[in-house]
């Protein structure tokens, strides 16, 4: 199986499974209990917090959650304040941010959506125009899950410092964490979301980085775990397994290797001039359109050759479009023929070579039949 949908999820590291098992079957204690065995688990969990902070290159707090959706909800609803505050989101956000934004709008808050430009990044001029001293929160994703475009967070921060210094900056870093080399301390980020299963950790666990806890309120209620911001017994095995994945993910080496994979695939695909490749940011994600063929059809046809590609959160009907690509100015036909190819360091150059050729072949086969 040649798995080219690593932006959807990744294979869990075997070592992470071992760690998961250890904390599920041996050190399974509830870390809130007072006996030494439990205190040891709590210490291990705190080590994982430090590991994440170190990776992010910043001081602050880590709140463990069930994943990015919960982190994003906590970041946005948790920082919501009553009064005449305004909220700013990009049009390229993942549904776990975007649908929160539309909910705020339905609740009567003033919500601004910033367009995307052709290169997949947000329109910084528009951002500048919509933020002001009433802005409570700006939420911009780090790397687009659809296109791999990387937003210039330094620039976002500078605009914020200048036009709305009090506004909080939330960044959904799901497709960036571990994969890109950066220090969020450089961008003065207030809230940062990560998700374990995107870098070979288990599903069902994630975290929210919080610079200043005073900015946040809890949105669920219970036993007061995670400093009260996320009640519920901690998913200790999940958290420890995530920690394993973080410490075994070699950001620099993987980046360089994945870039090689991506370049090889680009080379293979560009043999066919009809195919349009959109390569603007993270080497982990390549957005490709195959004119004349429905992306979903291509995806299904490729799986018969054991090649799995994604079509993102793309359209499943004739009617529904794709919000992100639409915002970038894609027309409906381009959206329909869009496929997302996303890499992992576990792929070999040989596999990519085979996949690249096969994709071109299968694409042309279908095109021949449907044109």
């Amino acid at each position: 199986m040649i798995y080219l949908d690593n932006a959807a999820t990744t294979r869990m590291y075997e070592g992470a499974v071992d760690v998961y098992k250890k904390y599920a079957c041996q050190s399974f204690y509830n870390m809130s209990a007072g006996y030494n065995k439990a205190i040891e688990v709590a210490k291990d969990i705190d080590e994982t917090r430090n590991l994440i902070l170190k990776k992010l290159g910043v001081r602050g707090y880590i709140i463990f959650t069930s994943g990015a959706t919960e982190s994003n909800n906590l970041a946005i609803y948790g920082s919501k304040r009553n009064g005449k505050w305004e909220y700013v989101f990009s049009e390229g956000e993942h549904p776990s941010v975007y649908n929160v934004a539309t909910d705020l709008q339905n609740q009567g808050f003033v919500v601004h959506f910033v367009r995307l430009k052709e290169n997949g990044q947000i329109d910084y001029e528009q951002l500048q125009n919509v933020i002001n001293e009433r802005t409570r929160l700006i939420s911009v994703m780090h790397v687009s899950n659809e296109t791999g475009a990387i937003n210039d967070l330094k620039r976002v921060d500078l605009i914020r410092q200048k036009f709305s210094p009090k506004a909080l900056l939330h960044v959904d870093g799901v497709q960036a964490f571990c994969k890109l080399d950066y220090k969020i301390g450089d961008y003065n980020i207030d809230l940062y979301t990560i998700s374990s299963h995107k870098f070979h950790g288990p599903k069902g666990v994630g975290a929210l980085y919080v610079k200043n806890l005073n900015a946040l309120k809890n949105i669920t209620f219970g036993g007061g775990q995670e400093k009260g911001y996320r009640s519920g017994t901690e998913n200790t095995s999940g958290i420890m397994a995530m920690g394993y994945a973080i410490s075994h993910f070699n950001t620099k080496d993987n980046y360089n290797y994945v870039e090689q994979l991506k370049n090889l695939l680009k080379e293979q695909l560009s043999v066919d001039k009809k195919i349009k490749i959109f390569d603007v940011g993270s080497p982990y994600i390549l957005s490709v359109t195959f004119p004349g063929v429905n992306g979903e059809t291509l995806m299904r046809a490729l799986q018969d050759y054991d090649i799995l590609v994604g079509n993102g959160s793309a359209c499943s009907t004739r009617k529904a479009g794709n919000r992100v690509l639409e915002s970038m100015g894609y027309n409906l036909n381009e959206i329909k023929s869009h496929v997302r190819i996303s890499f992992s360091e576990e792929l070999s150059l040989k596999e990519i070579d085979f996949a690249g050729k096969k994709i071109v072949e299968v694409y042309n086969n279908i095109l021949e039949k449907v044109k």
Binding site: N294, E296, T297, R300, A301, D304, S316, T317, R318, K319, A320, I366, K369, V370
Partner: protein
């Protein structure tokens, strides 16, 4: 004693073969209630369900409401049809402050008092026991029915619950339903089943142009239909090759016409093979290009020896939607997966094709071979009515 009194509708119209229908109905009732504790007996013109667990009454009623051939039912109390015993029962009815009406029906003419007389008498008893109540013959808040049957029992109840009507399932033979995944075809199946026709279903898919999810959706629809028709056999046929061939060789505006002609041929063959006596479709006159009078003439003309039943033919979309909601297929039908009819959809499909034109297009195809190939790759699923997470 608590009982459920069942009435059947149209079976009255039957002559000397009426017992066949009645036996079928009772068989279907027993099937529908399988797993429940109950007994069922027949008195002239009624079935009576007895000895069931009272706490299951609501579920029993829900199930019986899905049995075709039943016209209505009433949860009732059974008493001996004796004047005093009935009066005694009626004297215990509480409807303080409400308007009421007593209906008496006397199938047993040996009962000593006429229906009218007895109704008056019982009304008086109710009035005496409920001082602030009054009789309202036109719009009563409380209805009291007394049904005196020839088995020397009287059934007393306060409501009549409407059932599906129609004829017992199986009494009208067995057909083949073309099940697309849309709103209309499950409704068509339901309507034919209500007229007593059992059916198997046939679905065409076009992988990889359509998704596995589209197939799953059809299985879910079939599952919903099993609530009415019991276990259902689903034939699944790959139509990819046919569509590719038509697309390649025929004029694009004839895509749908030729496609449907081949579908009909495949259906015809499957009917032959499995001994099914009719093709059922969800077509509604004029709804889309392939459902005009001319299109149906052209697609229907390839079917030999059996009829095509189109129960939605004269219905408006809104009426079809209403039925699909009532049989719980609507929410599944509107899931947004492409079905095989939406792939290769021409911009301007022909609205008034002729048989001659269709034959003209088909000469570029090896129709028989395509039909054979469809049949070779036929997949059969037995969709059972057991509960699973689709429900």
């Amino acid at each position: 004693m608590k009982v459920l009194l069942l009435r059947f509708g149209e079976l009255y119209l039957k002559g000397h073969n009426r017992y066949v229908f009645e036996n079928m109905l009772i068989h279907n009732i027993k099937n529908m209630l399988a797993g429940e504790d109950f007994r069922i007996s027949k008195t002239f013109g009624r079935y009576v369900v007895t000895d069931y667990r009272e706490e299951r009454e609501i579920e029993l009623i829900e199930k019986l409401k899905r049995v075709f051939g039943l016209y209505s039912l009433s949860p009732a109390d059974e008493v001996d049809s004796d004047v005093e015993k009935i009066e005694d029962y009626i004297s215990k009815i509480k409807c303080e402050g409400e308007s009421f009406k007593v209906f008496v029906k006397r199938a047993d003419k040996s009962f000593p008092i006429s229906s009218m007389e007895f109704a008056k008498k019982l009304g008086e008893i109710v009035l005496n026991n409920n001082k602030n109540s009054y009789v309202d013959l036109y719009n009563p808040e409380h209805e009291i029915y007394v049904d005196i049957r020839i088995n020397k029992k009287a059934y007393i109840f306060d409501k009549i619950i409407k059932c599906q009507g129609g004829l017992p399932l199986g009494s009208s033979g067995k057909g083949l339903l073309l099940l697309s995944g849309g709103i209309d075809s499950p409704v068509a199946g339901f309507l034919m089943a209500r007229r007593g026709m059992m059916f198997e279903a046939l679905h065409f898919h076009s992988y990889p142009y359509t998704s596995e999810l589209a197939k799953d959706k059809v299985i879910t629809l079939a599952k919903h239909l099993t609530n009415y028709v019991g276990n259902l056999r689903l034939h699944i046929v790959s139509f990819t090759k046919v569509q590719e061939e038509i697309h390649k060789r025929c004029k694009s505006e004839f895509m749908i016409t030729i496609m449907r002609r081949i579908m009909m041929r495949v259906a015809n063959k499957i009917c032959e093979k499995y001994n099914l006596g009719a093709i059922i479709t969800g077509e509604s006159l004029g709804q889309v290009a392939s459902q005009t009078m001319q299109s149906m003439t052209v697609t229907g003309s390839v079917v030999k020896d059996i009829p095509i039943f189109r129960p939605c033919l004269a219905m408006d979309k809104e009426e079809i939607i209403q039925i699909s909601k009532s049989i719980n297929t609507y929410d599944t039908s509107i899931l947004p997966y492409e079905d095989c009819c939406t792939v290769f959809l021409p911009k301007n499909p022909v609205i008034k094709p002729t048989i001659k034109q269709a034959l003209g297009e088909e000469q570029y195809l090896n129709v028989d071979a395509l039909v054979e190939e469809c049949l070779e790759k036929e997949e059969i699923l037995e969709v059972s009515s057991e509960f699973d997470n689709r429900d």
